[in-house]
C-alpha cells in the first residue's frame, strides 16, 4: 500500500500491461473470459485514474515520480513521470476510452478476442506512458512501444488490406521517429541528459540554424502522428483497415500524442525555432483542414470519410498550436479532447452499423433512420459535435483556435484564420451530406443493400457506450472550463517562454484619455487585449 501511495502513476501506467501480459498467457479457448477480465481491468484503471487524478485535495502537490533509471554511454536516463495541466485530461481520456471501446466492440471480433484485449491493454500502457513521461528517452520508448500492439491490432484483425495498412502505419511512423531519434541523441549528447529542461537549455546555446534543424526533426515525427498534411496518408489506410476498436483508439488517443508532443516538447524546447516555423506549420495546418475536408467529401466509404475528417480536425489542433497564442493553444488542447471523443464516437458508431450490415459503403445505405432511430439520433448528435455546432464540444475548440490564429502575431495569421473557417463549412458539407445519403430518404430498396440487413437497433450495451460520450460532448460544449482550466497556467507560461509576439489591438481608442471606456471596460469583464509581456 505504501508503495502504491508513492507510485500511483507507475501503477496506472504499468497495470494494464501487466494484466495484458497475464491475459496473453491464457489459452485461446477462454477468450471470452479473457475479454471480460481485460474489460474489468481497464475499467478499474479508469476508476482509479479518476480517483487519483481528479479526486485530489485542491492545492496538493502534483502527482509526479522521479528516480534515476540508468545511464548508457554516459547519458543518464531518468524514470520521470508526472501529471500536470497539459496531460491530465489526455490521461483520463485514455483510461476512459479504453474500457469504453472494449465494451463498444464487445462482439465485433470473432476470434482471438483474448489476445486482442491483451494487446489493447499493452497499448494503453504505451499511451499512458507516453503521456506522463517527463524524460524524453522514456517518452521515446513509450512512443515507439505503442506501435507494436497497434501494428498487430491492425494487421491481425483488420480488413482485407490489413497487411498493407499495418506495414504502412508502422513504417511511416517509424520513419519520422527514427530521424527524430538522431536529433534527440544529438541534443541529449550535448546536454548530457534527457530532461526536457536541460535539453532546452543546451538547445538555446546552439546556433539558430541547428535549433531549426532539431525542431524540424521533432516536428516531423510529431506531425506524422498528428497527422499533418502532407504526412497523413497512412491514416486513411490504417483507420479503414483497423478493427473498430483500433480505429477508435487511433483517432481517440494516438493522434493526440502528436499534438501533445508539440506542446510538451517541441515548442518549449525550441521556442525561437518554433516561432520561426509557426508560419509554415500554420500554412500546412490550413491546407490540412481544407484538404482533408475536400477529400472527405468525395469518399464512398463512411470510415474513410471519418478518417479524412480526422485529418481536417487535427489540422485545427495544429493551427491552434502554431498560433502561439494562449487562446489558440488552449483551443488546441480542448480540440484534442474533442476529437478524441467525437471521432472516437463516430468510429464506434460506424463499427456498430458495420457489425450489422457488413458494409460501410455510403451507397449501400439510405433510409437507415427508418430502421434504426436510436442509432440515428446518436449519430446525428455526434455528427453535430464533429461539425462544431455551438454547445457541443467541437465549437469551443474551433472557436478558440480560430480566434487565437486571428490574433497571432505572425503575418498572414488573419488570412489563415479566415481560410480555416472555410473548413468549418466544408466539415458540415461532408458530414451532413453523408448523413443525408446514409440515414435520410426512403429505405434502400436493393435487397442486397446494407440497410436491408439492419434488423435491430442499438441494444442496451451499445446505448450504454454511447451515452457517456454524448454527455461528454455536451458537457465539454457547455462547460469547457472543466477541461482546460488546468492547462491555462502551463500554456501561458509556455508561451511566455516562447516569446510569442505581442498582439496589438486593431483599433486604438480614439483618445488616450477616454476615461469612460476604461471604466466601462473594467465593469464589464476583461478589457485588456491579448498582450504577452
Amino acid at each position: 500500500m505504501t508503495w502504491l501511495n508513492s507510485h500511483p502513476l507507475t501503477f496506472l501506467v504499468f497495470a494494464p500491461a501487466l494484466l495484458g501480459l497475464l491475459l496473453m498467457a491464457l489459452p485461446h479457448s477462454v477468450g471470452k473470459l479473457t475479454r471480460l477480465l481485460g474489460f474489468l481491468g481497464a475499467l478499474a484503471v479508469f476508476v482509479l485514474s479518476l480517483a487519483w487524478l481528479l479526486g485530489r485535495a485542491p492545492g496538493s502537490a502534483p502527482l509526479a515520480e522521479h528516480a534515476p533509471w540508468f545511464a548508457l554511454v554516459g547519458l543518464p536516463v531518468d524514470y520521470a513521470l508526472a501529471v500536470d495541466g497539459l496531460n491530465l485530461w489526455l490521461v483520463i481520456l485514455t483510461t476512459f476510452l479504453v474500457p469504453l471501446t472494449m465494451l463498444g466492440t464487445w462482439n465485433s471480433l470473432k476470434d482471438r478476442m483474448g489476445t486482442f484485449a491483451a494487446l489493447f491493454l499493452l497499448l494503453e500502457t504505451g499511451m499512458l506512458g507516453a503521456l506522463v513521461a517527463q524524460d524524453l528517452f522514456l517518452f521515446y520508448l513509450f512512443w515507439e512501444g505503442m506501435l507494436i500492439p497497434m501494428y498487430f491490432m491492425i494487421g491481425v484483425w483488420g480488413g482485407d488490406e490489413r497487411r498493407y495498412a499495418a506495414n504502412k502505419f508502422f513504417l511511416y511512423t517509424l520513419s519520422g521517429s527514427l530521424l527524430w531519434l538522431v536529433a534527440l541523441l544529438f541534443l541529449a549528447g550535448r546536454a548530457g541528459s534527457f530532461a526536457p529542461a536541460v535539453m532546452a537549455q543546451a538547445a538555446s546555446a546552439l546556433p539558430f540554424a541547428a535549433q531549426c534543424w532539431l525542431f524540424v526533426a521533432f516536428a516531423v515525427a510529431f506531425a506524422i502522428k498528428v497527422p499533418l498534411f502532407p504526412l497523413h496518408t497512412w491514416l486513411p489506410d490504417a483507420h479503414v483497415q483497423a478493427p473498430t476498436a483500433g480505429s477508435v483508439i487511433l483517432a481517440g488517443v494516438l493522434l493526440k500524442l502528436g499534438g501533445y508532443g508539440f506542446i510538451r516538447f517541441a515548442i518549449p524546447m525550441f521556442p525561437q525555432a518554433a516561432m520561426h516555423f509557426a508560419r509554415p506549420l500554420a500554412l500546412l495546418s490550413v491546407i490540412a483542414i481544407i484538404y482533408g475536408a475536400l477529400v472527405a467529401m468525395v469518399q464512398r466509404d463512411i470510415k474513410k470519410l471519418v478518417a479524412y475528417s480526422s485529418v481536417s480536425h487535427m489540422g485545427f489542433v495544429m493551427l491552434g498550436l502554431a498560433s502561439m497564442t494562449v487562446i489558440g493553444t488552449q483551443g488546441a488542447m480542448l480540440q484534442m479532447l474533442n476529437h478524441g471523443i467525437s471521432t472516437g464516437a463516430l468510429f464506434l458508431l460506424v463499427g456498430m452499423i458495420y457489425d450489422r450490415a457488413h458494409t460501410r459503403m455510403i451507397a449501400d445505405f439510405g433510409g437507415v433512420a427508418t430502421k434504426m432511430p436510436i442509432f440515428t439520433t446518436f449519430f446525428l448528435i455526434v455528427t453535430l459535435s464533429s461539425i462544431g455546432l455551438p454547445l457541443t464540444n467541437g465549437f469551443v475548440g474551433e472557436f478558440w483556435i480560430l480566434n487565437g490564429t486571428f490574433l497571432s502575431g505572425f503575418g498572414w495569421g488573419r488570412a489563415y484564420a479566415v481560410i480555416a473557417t472555410l473548413g468549418v463549412v466544408l466539415g458540415a458539407v461532408y458530414m451532413l451530406w453523408m448523413v443525408k445519403r446514409v440515414f435520410w430518404g426512403p429505405v434502400n430498396p436493393d435487397e442486397e443493400s446494407g440497410t436491408q440487413h439492419l434488423h435491430s437497433d442499438l441494444n442496451a450495451r451499445e446505448i450504454a457506450v454511447m451515452l457517456p460520450l454524448v454527455v461528454l460532448i455536451l458537457w465539454m460544449g457547455i462547460h469547457p472550463r472543466t477541461f482546460v482550466a488546468v492547462s491555462e497556467a502551463p500554456v501561458t507560461a509556455l508561451l511566455k517562454d516562447a516569446n510569442a509576439p505581442a498582439i496589438r489591438p486593431l483599433v486604438l481608442p480614439s483618445a488616450p484619455e477616454s476615461g469612460p471606456l476604461e471604466a466601462a471596460a473594467e465593469g464589464h469583464g476583461p478589457a485588456s487585449h491579448e498582450v504577452h509581456p
Binding site: V295, Q330, L517, E530
Partner: protein
C-alpha cells in the same frame, strides 16, 4: 422574479428534451402539455421580464449566469440581456411561437412523429431565444447556429421522402456559409475590441473617432452581413429558403417567415452602432436588400406552389428590411420585422389551412373558390394580404412606407427599386389570393372534400390577423401624422454606448407624403391588376405569359440560379475534391512519396541481388574489388 428569467430560454429546452426522449412513450397528451406548456411558461416569463425591463431606468436588464468559455483574455459569459430590442423580439418569438405551437397541435395531429416534431419546435424556440437574448456574440452564435440546426431538422422532418432531406441539407449548408461570415466577423471584432460581449463592444465603439477603425470595421460588418444574408435569405444566399418549404407548414410560418429568417436583421440592429461606423457596408446592405426584394418578387410572380410564392415573398420582404437597415432606418427595418412576423406567419398558417383542406395539394392552379368552404381562413388571409401589399391603415403599410421613404433619402434609385418590388408584391399576392379563394374550383374532387380547419388552427389565425392590422399602432409614420413610436422605443438599444446618438435625418413632411402616396397608389394599381388577371381563371394569364415566353421561362425557373450553383460551384468543388484525393493523395503523396521509395528499395534490392550470382569466382572478384578499395583508402 428576476432570478427565474433564465427559464425563458431553458423552459422550451426542457420541453424539447422531454419530448425528444420520452415523446413516443408518453403519448400525445403529454407531448402537447409539455410542448405547449413550456412555451407558454416562457411567454409568461417573457412578459414579466419585458415589464421588468421597462421598469429599469435605462431600459436594460443584464443577467449573468457564469462563465461559458473563457481562456486567455477571452471571456464569454452565459449572459442574457433584455432591452427594448431583444425584449420585443423575445415577445414575438414566444408569442407567435406559442400561437404556432397551438396551430401545430391541429396541423400535426395525425402525424406519427408528433413528439419528435414538438421536440424540434421547442428546441427551436430555445435557440431562437438564445439568439435574441444572448449578451455576447458567441452566445448569440449559439442561437444563430442552433436555429439553423432546427431548421435543418424541421425541413427534413419528412425524412423518408427524397426531397425533404435535400432541402434540409441545402438550408443548413447555405446557412453555414453565412455562419462562416459571422464567425469571421466575431474574430475581427474580438481582435479589434478584445471582447465579444455586445454591451462592451458597443461601449467601445461609441468612443471611437469615426475614422479610427474604418477599414477593419467595414470588414467586420461585411462579414457579419454575409452571415445575415445566409440566415435572412438575401442574395446570393437566399437559395435555401424556397426549398425549405418542404417542411411542415407551421415550421414555414414560425421559422421561415416570422422568426429565424429575421435574425439577420436583428443582429444588425443589435450592432447598429458598429454598422453605422461602416458606411460602405451600409451601402452594400441597402443595395443587396433592394436587389433581393426585387429579384425574389419577380420570381414570385409566376410560381404555382402556394408555399413557394410565400417563400419568395418572404425573401422579398426580408430584402425590404435590409433596405431599411441600409438606409440607417434600424427602427424601420425592425418594425418591418415585427409587422412581417404577424402577417407572414398568418399567410403561411392560412396557406397551411388551405393545404390541409386540399389534402396536401399545394398547386395554386388546382385550387379556387375556397372562400365559401373556408370562411375564417378566407377573411384572415384577406387581412394578411392587405397588410403585405401595404394597404393604407394596415401594419404593412406603415412599416413599408417608412422603409421606402428612408430609401429615397439615401438614394432615389433605391426607392424606385423598392416601389417596383412593392408593385410585384401586390400583383402576386392578389394572384395568390384570387387563385385560392375566388373564382371557380379547378379541382373538384379536392374541393368537395375541403372543409374549415379545427379550432386549434383557426384561433391562431384570428389572433394573428388581429395582430397584422393592429401592429400599426406601434409605428404609424410621422408623414401621416403618427409618431413612429417604435423608433423612440428602440432608441436606447440601437444607440447603446453612443456618445452622439445617430438620428436619421428626416426630410420634409410633404416629400414623405408625396412619396407614400405614389407608392401606395402604384401598389394598389398592381394589386387590382393581379386580381383582374386571375379573376376569370388562368386563360388571361396564360395568354400574357405566351407573349413573353423567355421571361416567363426564366422566372419560372428562378433565373436558373440553382443550376448555375451546381454547375459553377458544387460540381467543381466535388471535382476538385476527387482530384485531390485521386491525384494528390493516392498518386503524388502515396505513390511518389511513400510507395515509390518502397518500390525503389525493392528494385534496388533486386539489382543488388543480381550480384549474388552463385558463382564463387564472382564472389572472389567482388572481394578483390573490395581489397582494391581498401588498399586505395589506406594508401592514398
Amino acid at each position: 422574479m428576476n432570478k427565474y428569467f433564465w427559464l425563458i430560454p431553458v423552459l422550451p429546452l426542457l420541453g424539447s428534451v422531454f419530448n425528444g426522449l420520452l415523446g413516443k412513450r408518453a403519448g400525445k397528451g403529454a407531448v402537447t402539455f409539455f410542448g405547449l406548456g413550456t412555451v407558454l411558461g416562457s411567454l409568461v416569463l417573457a412578459l414579466a421580464a419585458f415589464f421588468a425591463m421597462k421598469g429599469m431606468p435605462d431600459h436594460r436588464l443584464v443577467l449573468d449566469y457564469g462563465e461559458w468559455m473563457a481562456t486567455g483574455t477571452l471571456s464569454v459569459p452565459f449572459g442574457l440581456v433584455i432591452d427594448p430590442l431583444s425584449g420585443t423580439m423575445m415577445l414575438v418569438v414566444t408569442g407567435i411561437g406559442f400561437l404556432i405551437h397551438v396551430y401545430s397541435v391541429g396541423y400535426m395531429h395525425d402525424d406519427e412523429g408528433y413528439g419528435r416534431f414538438f421536440s424540434y419546435l421547442n428546441l427551436f424556440v430555445f435557440f431562437m431565444l438564445t439568439l435574441v437574448l444572448g449578451s455576447s456574440l458567441p452566445l448569440m452564435f449559439v442561437g444563430w447556429e442552433g436555429v439553423g440546426l432546427c431548421s435543418y431538422l424541421l425541413i427534413g422532418y419528412y425524412y423518408e421522402t427524397d426531397f425533404a432531406p435535400d432541402a434540409g441539407l441545402k438550408a443548413f449548408l447555405t446557412n453555414r456559409v453565412g455562419d462562416l461570415g459571422v464567425a469571421i466577423g466575431m474574430m475581427v471584432l474580438f481582435a479589434a475590441f478584445g471582447t465579444l460581449t455586445v454591451g462592451d463592444i458597443l461601449l467601445r465603439v461609441g468612443h471611437l473617432a469615426p475614422e479610427a477603425g474604418f477599414g477593419i470595421l467595414t470588414f467586420a460588418t461585411l462579414m457579419l452581413f454575409v452571415g445575415a444574408t445566409g440566415k435572412s435569405a438575401q442574395l446570393p444566399l437566399y437559395l435555401w429558403l424556397p426549398d425549405a418549404m418542404a417542411g411542415p407548414t407551421p415550421v414555414s410560418a414560425l421559422i421561415h417567415a416570422a422568426t429565424m429568417v429575421t435574425s439577420g436583421i436583428y443582429m444588425i440592429c443589435r450592432l447598429a452602432p458598429v454598422f453605422t461606423l461602416a458606411p460602405i457596408t451600409m451601402d452594400i446592405v441597402a443595395w443587396v436588400g433592394a436587389a433581393t426584394a426585387l429579384f425574389a418578387a419577380t420570381i414570385g410572380l409566376v410560381q404555382r406552389d402556394i408555399k413557394k410564392v410565400l417563400a419568395y415573398s418572404t425573401v422579398s420582404q426580408l430584402g425590404y428590411m435590409f433596405l431599411g437597415l441600409g438606409a440607417s432606418g434600424f427602427a424601420a427595418g425592425f418594425f418591418h420585422v415585427f409587422t412581417h412576423a404577424w402577417f407572414k406567419a398568418l399567410l403561411f398558417l392560412g396557406a397551411g389551412s388551405v393545404i390541409l383542406a386540399m389534402h396536401h395539394e399545394q398547386d395554386l392552379f388546382k385550387m379556387g373558390g375556397l372562400k365559401s368552404k373556408m370562411p375564417l381562413t378566407f377573411w384572415t388571409m384577406l387581412a394578411a394580404t392587405l397588410a403585405i401589399i401595404g394597404f393604407p391603415g394596415t401594419s404593412g403599410f406603415a412599416s413599408k412606407d417608412e422603409i421606402l421613404y428612408l430609401a429615397y433619402l439615401k438614394s432615389p434609385a433605391l426607392w424606385v427599386v423598392g416601389v417596383v418590388a412593392a408593385c410585384c408584391t401586390a400583383f402576386y399576392m392578389l394572384r395568390l389570393f384570387t387563385l385560392a379563394f375566388l373564382g371557380e374550383p379547378r379541382d373538384h374532387h379536392a374541393y368537395d372534400h375541403a372543409h374549415e380547419s379545427p379550432a386549434t388552427m383557426t384561433v391562431p389565425l384570428v389572433v394573428l390577423a388581429a395582430g397584422s392590422i393592429l401592429a400599426v399602432w406601434l409605428g404609424w409614420p410621422k408623414a401621416f401624422g403618427g409618431d413612429f413610436r417604435i423608433e423612440e422605443w428602440l432608441a436606447p438599444a440601437v444607440t447603446y454606448g453612443q456618445l452622439h446618438a445617430a438620428h436619421g435625418e428626416h426630410g420634409s413632411a410633404s416629400l414623405a407624403m408625396i412619396l407614400a402616396s405614389v407608392s401606395t397608389v402604384l401598389g394598389l394599381g398592381f394589386a387590382w391588376f393581379g386580381y383582374a388577371t386571375y379573376r376569370k381563371g388562368l386563360a388571361v394569364a396564360e395568354a400574357r405569359a405566351a407573349k413573353f415566353p423567355f421571361i416567363h421561362k426564366v422566372l419560372l425557373n428562378k433565373y436558373y440560379v440553382d443550376e448555375g450553383v451546381e454547375l459553377v460551384l458544387l460540381g467543381p468543388i466535388r471535382w476538385f475534391g476527387n482530384l485531390l484525393w485521386k491525384l494528390f493523395d493516392v498518386i503524388i503523396i502515396d505513390g511518389v512519396g511513400v510507395n515509390l521509395p518502397g518500390a525503389l528499395a525493392r528494385v534496388s534490392g533486386d539489382f543488388t541481388a543480381l550480384f549474388q550470382t552463385g558463382r564463387v569466382r564472382n564472389y572472389a572478384l567482388s572481394m578483390a574489388l573490395g581489397a582494391a578499395v581498401l588498399l586505395y583508402v589506406f594508401l592514398k
